[in-house]
C-alpha cells in the first residue's frame, strides 16, 4: 500500500522543477530536458491513477506509453531543429533566437 498523495507530491515536485528549468534555462537542449521532466511528472500521475482506480482496460498506463512515444518524437524533431539553428546562427540560446520578434 502506498498513499496516493505521496506519489502525486513527487509528481508535482518534478513538474515544478521542470517549469523552473524551462523558464530559467537559455540553452535549448536544457529546455528540452526540462520538458522531459514535466512529461515524466504527467506520466507518473497517469500510472498512479491507473493503479489507484484498478482500471481493467489500463487506460492510464497505455496513455503514459503514448505520452512516452510522443515525447520521443518531440525530442527527435526538437533536436533536429536545434542543430539546424546552430548550423545557421552559431548559437542555441533561446533568447538570442529572436528573428521573428517584433
Amino acid at each position: 500500500m502506498i498513499r496516493l498523495p505521496l506519489v502525486l507530491f513527487f509528481s508535482a515536485g518534478l513538474f515544478g522543477i521542470g517549469v523552473y528549468g524551462v523558464l530559467a534555462r537559455r540553452n535549448a537542449v536544457l529546455v528540452l530536458m526540462s520538458i522531459e521532466l514535466m512529461l515524466n511528472a504527467v506520466n507518473l500521475n497517469l500510472v498512479a491513477f491507473s493503479q489507484y482506480l484498478q482500471d481493467v482496460a489500463l487506460s492510464g498506463q497505455i496513455f503514459a506509453l503514448f505520452v512516452i512515444t510522443v515525447a520521443a518524437a518531440e525530442v527527435g524533431i526538437g533536436l533536429a531543429i536545434v542543430i539546424l539553428i546552430f548550423r545557421n546562427r552559431e548559437t542555441v540560446n533561446v533568447d538570442e533566437i529572436d528573428l521573428l520578434r517584433w
Binding site: 513538474f15 523558464l23 512515444t69 552559431e90
Partner: protein, 165 residues
C-alpha cells in the same frame, strides 16, 4: 508507513534531488546525467506501483534512447560551461513561479486525495498491458506509429545537409 512508502520516499527524494541539480547544473553533460538519475527513479516508482511494462519502456526509451539523443544534441552544438551562459536573467521569477506551482499542487492534492491508497499488490503484467493495447487501444496505437514515422521523416528532412548546387 509501510515498507513500500519508505522505499518510495527514498526513490522520490533521490529523483527530486537529481531533478533540482539538473536545472541548476553548470555543465550540460552533468545535467544530462542527472536526467538519467531522475528518469531511472521514476522508472523504479513505476515498478513499485506495479506498472511493469511502463517501467521497462521508461528504462528503454527514456534512459536508453532519449538521453543518448540529448547527449548527441549537446555534443553537436557548442555547449558553454557556467551559470551565466546557461541561465537567463529570469531565474528568480522562474523560481517563484515553480515554487508557486508546487505549493498550489500540494495543497490541492492534499485536499482532494488525503488518505487514499494505491493497492500495490494488484500489479499489472505485460500480458494485460499488451492485450489492452491491441484490443481497446488498437486505433490510437496505429495513429501513434504513424506519428513516429512522420517524426522520423521530419527529423531526417530537417537535419540533412543542403545539397551544394
Amino acid at each position: 508507513m509501510t515498507w513500500q512508502e519508505w522505499f518510495f520516499t527514498v526513490l522520490a527524494l533521490i529523483g527530486l534531488g537529481a531533478g533540482a541539480r539538473l536545472v541548476t547544473a553548470k555543465n550540460v553533460v552533468h545535467a544530462a546525467l542527472y536526467l538519467v538519475v531522475t528518469l531511472a527513479m521514476v522508472g523504479a516508482v513505476y515498478l513499485l506501483l506495479g506498472a511493469e511494462f511502463v517501467a521497462w519502456v521508461q528504462v528503454l526509451i527514456y534512459v536508453g534512447a532519449i538521453v543518448v539523443l540529448l547527449l548527441f544534441g549537446l555534443m553537436l552544438t557548442r555547449a558553454p560551461i557556467g551559470r551565466e551562459a546557461l541561465d537567463n536573467q529570469q531565474r528568480v521569477l522562474a523560481g517563484i513561479v515553480a515554487v508557486g506551482i508546487i505549493v498550489g499542487l500540494v495543497f490541492l492534492i492534499d485536499g482532494a486525495f488525503r488518505g487514499e491508497r494505491i493497492d500495490t499488490a494488484a500489479a499489472t503484467t505485460t500480458a494485460e498491458t499488451g492485450s489492452s493495447i491491441f484490443t481497446t487501444f488498437v486505433m490510437p496505437f496505429e495513429v501513434v506509429s504513424f506519428l513516429l514515422l512522420a517524426a522520423l521523416i521530419g527529423a531526417v528532412v530537417l537535419a540533412r545537409k543542403e545539397d551544394p548546387e
